[in-house]
């Protein structure tokens, strides 16, 4: 097999594996949950495309940011006191026009990608809240979701995957596993550093405090309450 045939075959195998996985998940979750997920994936897709909604979304976020800055730099006071004279408003606009954009132009693509990931993630979480119904139709709908996600994410993968399916000996498989692990670790570090760079651009010196606070609150919210024992266990009033 030549190189391009192997790459094509790998992409096809990956594509069908994804479809099968999502179809199986759709069968377990049911139709309604999968339709909710489809909605969010579609919203994520359009938010991630610069030509469809991506640029408008970035502009809207930056616009809201400037509106917020307008209020914080004296606009709120002007509204509260009714002091709308030209000098005050000019002063405020002069001040906020010096401020950097919340999402600078060179980070717009990353912001769109994160918005897409966020919406896909929200869809996944929202679908968990629904009761499984109509598993057969869920299977079909799940396969459609798998197709949509493959359509979105597969082109973003590198052309040459870090493993070859030609060599199926034990040594070959071990070599492929090591190669794949190294690739995934590198990818995780790369994605992590890009995301951190983006967050750092947004929050500056407050990036790590905000990330610590977010991590703590997120994990604390995900502690499942222990079942209460009958009787007089635990603290409480005397």
């Amino acid at each position: 097999m030549n190189g391009s045939t192997v790459i094509e075959l790998q992409s096809n195998i990956l594509f069908w594996i994804l479809i099968a996985l999502f179809a199986w998940q759709g069968y377990q979750r049911g139709l309604i949950a999968e339709l909710v997920k489809t909605g969010f994936i579609a919203a994520g897709f359009v938010a991630g495309q610069p030509d469809i909604l991506g640029r408008t979304l970035v502009k809207a976020i930056n616009g809201f940011w400037f509106a917020f800055q307008f209020l914080m730099h004296g606009g709120l006071q002007a509204i509260a006191t009714g002091n709308f004279n030209a000098e005050t408003l000019n002063g405020i606009f002069d001040e906020i026009s010096q401020l950097p954009l919340l999402i600078p132009k060179n980070s717009a693509e990353m912001a769109m990608f994160l918005a897409m990931l966020f919406l896909v993630g929200v869809g996944y979480l929202a679908s968990n809240l629904l009761k499984p119904q109509w598993p057969g139709l869920g299977l079909v709908s799940g396969a459609v979701n798998g197709f949509l996600l493959s359509y979105i994410f597969l082109p973003r993968l590198p052309q040459e995957l870090p493993f070859q399916i030609e060599d199926l000996s034990v040594a070959g498989i071990l070599k492929q596993a090591v190669s794949l692990t190294g690739y995934l670790v590198g990818l995780a570090i790369d994605v992590g550093s890009r995301v951190f760079g983006f967050i750092h651009q947004l929050f500056g010196a407050w990036s790590i405090p905000i990330m610590l606070l977010a991590a703590v609150v997120f994990v604390l919210m995900n502690i499942k309450p222990a079942k209460k024992k009958s009787g007089n266990s635990g603290g409480g009033g005397s």
Partner: protein, 182 residues
């Protein structure tokens, strides 16, 4: 010894593994102790301690402390105090958050997240005490300076450098609110 960041990475990895074993409701008990200790050290002890050591040294030895002696003393006191607090949070009757970890892979991911946070806080703070007081450990031949470029990059993101002292207190308050609510 090799580059300092290897030691940092080893300590970090150990705490990540500990978190995976203990699960995140227990590990969060350690996190709250770390936050509280960092608040006490950076907000209260760090500004007062040099004056205290100076006056104590002057009374006992009738001499003033040199800058390097002061750096050794502060790095040692804060490192030992911090390690004692971390040890206490793991030993004996420990503080934990009531409740069960999420089942399956989600629980492991949350434990990993808390482990990464605790590893960063513990190894990063111990490194900070060396970095801030200009590496007293190097005087014992346990470290060869200068740091590698990677080490320099990591050193700029050590917890007490990037988190304002009062914010540690805020984090403790947030965690206590959740502890009480649960």
């Amino acid at each position: 010894m090799g580059p300092f960041e290897y030691l940092w990475l080893s300590i970090f990895t150990i705490f990540v593994m500990v978190a995976l074993v203990r699960k995140y409701p227990n590990e969060l008990g350690t996190t709250i102790i770390i936050f509280a200790t960092l608040f006490l050290i950076t907000y209260l002890a760090a500004p007062k301690m040099p004056g205290l050591i100076n006056s104590l040294y002057a009374r006992v030895f009738d001499a003033s402390v040199t800058q390097r002696q002061m750096q050794h003393a502060l790095a040692s006191i804060f490192s030992l105090g911090f390690m004692a607090a971390v040890f206490a949070s793991y030993a004996g009757q420990t503080l934990s958050f009531p409740g069960k970890p999420a089942p399956g892979w989600k629980g492991s991911v949350y434990s990993l997240l808390v482990g990464v946070m605790n590893g960063y806080l513990i190894s990063g703070t111990l490194w900070y005490f060396q970095d801030y007081y200009q590496y007293p450990i190097a005087d014992f031949g346990l470290l060869y300076l200068p740091l590698t470029p990677t080490g320099e990059t990591i050193a700029a993101f050590l917890p007490p450098y990037v988190v304002p002292p009062a914010f540690w207190g805020f984090l403790v308050a947030v965690m206590l609110l959740f502890r009480v609510r649960k």
